[in-house]
């Protein structure tokens, strides 16, 4: 017996396997990480996914384009509006419809509000992952204001389903401009608090600086986009490289760093909140008059062919690829989701770090699990 016990506890050659998840607060959803440990050092991380695989791509093949939009909310539920927009843009591109300026501006403002609330939730949960409980309350408190704005105009708080092919579902609420300005005023005031509590915190620096560094070559090779890629110096902002909606008429900076560690992935998101506020500032007083939707046929049939559209979600590049055979339902519908691509780098980043750092690395990549599983 003693011999056996000794064998288990002191054999340094053996690796120790533990499961993090499927139900674990730090995985932010239903996902299992099988971690091989040697002492406290991570030797290998193997993500097991598919716990909430709903077969969205399969479902799309039997739904019309107007129906598909409502499924996309359920992928990355923190970027519901931007996912909707991707499908709408792809359909509008295929039908070669000109979209009036009012719709473009409304979509852009809504996208940036979506990005803001997503990054706020990232900030809140990342702080909590690393032991800062206050962050969660601060983050959610301010996010509530954006959700209220969404609720006023769209009727939904998270799952907005506000876009439809050819425009948006309803016109803006009369209070919209006022509420957005109130929110911006409030958030400009409290954002320095975010920096005080986390960005400049010595403990937080210790937990994140130099942890999980990602080089530029690896970021491109693994296909890491969004703030995680830009923290490594990978210029991949779709809003800059292939402007859609009203992004070609606003001035903003692409937030880029070179270090590529967890701290800079965090910093990129905090700075993006400032850029998003600047973008909204430029548009909120200049919403053009006009219709909020173009009249479309009740049944939309795309011409035969292949259509690719990409947009920038808060987590990276979302690609929508439609193969149409001319029917009212697509032949094949493919989502290139940012989280799915970003997941591939997890093992590469976590190897050689401690198990507590794995949580810091996982959190800094800002995964939303339904977006991985689809």
């Amino acid at each position: 017996m003693e011999e056996k016990l000794k064998d288990i506890t002191t054999d340094e050659q053996k690796e120790y396997l533990i499961n993090i998840g499927p139900q674990h607060p730090s995985t932010h959803g239903v996902m299992r990480l099988v971690v091989s440990l040697k002492g406290e050092i991570v030797k290998n991380v193997e993500p097991h996914i598919g716990y909430i695989h709903r077969g969205i791509e399969k479902m799309c093949e039997s739904l019309t384009y107007a129906q598909i939009i409502h499924l996309t909310d359920r992928m990355d539920y923190l970027a519901a509006h931007i996912n909707n927009e991707a499908v709408c843009l792809a359909v509008e591109k295929a039908l070669e419809i000109d979209i009036p300026d009012r719709i473009k501006v409304i979509r852009t403002i809504m996208s940036e509000l979506t990005r803001l609330q997503s990054h706020q939730l990232f900030w809140a949960s990342y702080g909590m992952d690393l032991g800062g409980q206050t962050c969660f309350f601060y983050g959610l408190r301010d996010r509530e204001m954006i959700l209220d704005i969404f609720e006023e105009t769209t009727g939904g708080r998270m799952i907005v389903s506000y876009n439809c092919p050819g425009g948006v579902m309803y016109d803006l609420h009369p209070n919209f401009q006022k509420s957005v300005k109130e929110f911006l005023k409030h958030f400009r005031k409290v954002l320095p608090e975010y920096d005080d509590i986390l960005t400049g915190n010595v403990i937080f620096h210790g937990r994140t600086k130099g942890i999980g560094p990602l080089s530029l070559e690896d970021a491109v090779n693994y296909g890491i986009t969004g703030p995680s890629g830009r923290a490594s110096g990978f210029s991949c902002d779709v809003r800059k490289h292939e402007p859609y909606s009203a992004y070609d008429r606003v001035k903003f900076n692409e937030v880029m760093y070179n270090a590529g560690d967890s701290f800079h992935r965090y910093l990129a998101r905090v700075e993006e909140m400032r850029e998003s506020m600047n973008i909204i500032d430029q548009l909120i007083d200049n919403i053009p008059e006009g219709p909020y939707a173009v009249k479309m046929k009740p049944v939309i049939k795309l011409p035969e062919g292949e259509y690719w559209q990409r947009v920038e979600t808060p987590r990276g590049e979302l690609g929508v690829f439609i193969i149409s055979d001319g029917n009212k339902t697509p032949y094949r519908f493919r989502f290139r989701t940012p989280n799915f691509a970003n997941l591939s780098v997890l093992n590469h980043l976590a190897k050689g770090f401690k198990i507590a750092d794995l949580i810091a690395i996982f959190g800094s990549l800002d995964f939303v699990i339904p977006d991985i599983d689809r």
Partner: protein, 150 residues
Amino acid sequence: MDKIELGEFIKTLDSGFEIKEGKQFTEVTVPPSKLHSLASQLRENKETLFDFLVSVTGVDYGPDLGLIYHLRSTKYGHTVVIKSRTPDRENPQFDSVSDIWEAADLHEREAFDLLGIRFSNHPDLRRLFLNSSWGFPLRKDYVDDDIITW
């Protein structure tokens, strides 16, 4: 390079490709046997430098099974689409490109999981979302009594 120049350049790399100028991108159709060599040439060549694998899409074309690769160059910003298909539904085989782009690993596992396309030389080809007794749901001949149709 723009669409036309890119198509002309790829023609010089090897013969046996079918190059079409699509609405958005240059589309290159290659037989499965030449897929890997074309991919590595496009990745390494200084003129093209396709270092970013955006997406791998598996498609069931009816009798054929196919793959569609979207490649982009981060230096030049141009995009190319590579297509390949095989009539073998029982044992569809393609060469894995995960030795060229690390990003291909998960995308290929997904194509294997949902369409049953096998990739030779893939480091870890296991089912990704579903368990091993499941069929391949994205195939057009997939039947499941529990699917609700309306």
